[in-house]
Symmetry: C2
Subunit: 150 residues, 2 copies
DNA sequence: ATATCAAATGCAAATAGTTGCATTAGCAAG
DNA sequence: CTTGCTAATGCAACTATTTGCATTTGATAT
């Protein structure tokens, strides 16, 4: 079974419809291997197939993220990036403020926190992202705007 | 010395100019006592004084937040809210997904993390917010859109 | 193959927030 | 009080993203 077919099966198993757009979006993410934003995914789908609308892209990225197929990260420049979730379970990210590299962080502070600290909040979701300068960018802190090719 | 005068002095001590808009924004935040968003602050300033531009509001909220005078929190509906920073040092927040109440969380996971986990990233800033249902909203999980009066 | 129905899509308008650039206004020095 | 410099402002255009609503389409039952 191809990687694409596996993703498609997972999608269907979650009760989502396998549409033309979704197929291409998944193919695009498989092709890219790294992280892509909505604009890049839009360009990929648009170039390859039919016309597509940005709202469809956004709605699909939302849907695929919420069933756990994609992983979403907000870069320091406030743009959301997506990648296929490599089934590595719940995790967070380290994001370089200079080159925008995204590194996986296999640590979540939430399980260690007691209910008292959580002030009796329930169904707590954790937003936890670290923004800093990666090893390669120590000397060269650019604060790029994210339009460069990285 | 009034509370306002104290804030103004702090602002000047950070090398910022004390402008008409900033004075009113600070007065508005003192009046409100809770959390306000850009639109509410805009309305307050607009009603009270001269015409003001939204970009001035946003730029000032940014500036006042970065010198540490204000505290910024993104609610679950993706709108930013601001309040005067009660000099309680670095902290994070618990945000109710139903009534949007914001509670202070005097805990930061960052200091406990070792450099290895941080993959040699430096100057790391921590974005850490918890979204859940507060004690009062256990039974009544509304997911309001944030346009209600709360 | 055809009908059916909800989910997905396209479209257009709206949202929160940002940015470049020309103008204005604090504040300090003369 | 006037001058000068820079930070702050207004304006208009732009960004990423969301939403309501009418239409289409994928999966399922006939």
């Amino acid at each position: 079974m191809t990687a694409l077919a596996g993703l498609e099966q997972f999608l269907i198993s979650k009760g989502c419809k396998l549409t033309r757009s979704r197929r291409i979006i998944l193919q695009g993410l498989l092709d890219n291997e790294g992280w892509s934003n909505a604009r890049e995914i839009y360009a990929y789908v648009q170039a390859r197939v039919h016309k597509i609308n940005f709202s469809t892209i956004y709605r699909n990225l939302d849907a695929l993220t919420s069933i756990g197929l994609l992983c979403r990260v907000e870069r320091a420049d406030a743009v959301n990036y997506y990648t296929l979730n490599q089934a590595s379970g719940h995790h967070h990210h380290l994001i370089c403020k200079s080159c925008h590299k995204i590194c996986q962080l296999d640590f979540c502070p939430l399980p260690q926190m007691d209910p008292e600290t959580l002030q009796n909040f329930t169904e707590v979701e954790c937003r936890f992202d670290l923004y800093g300068f990666c090893h390669e960018c120590q000397e060269n802190k650019k604060y790029t705007d994210g339009n460069g090719s990285d």
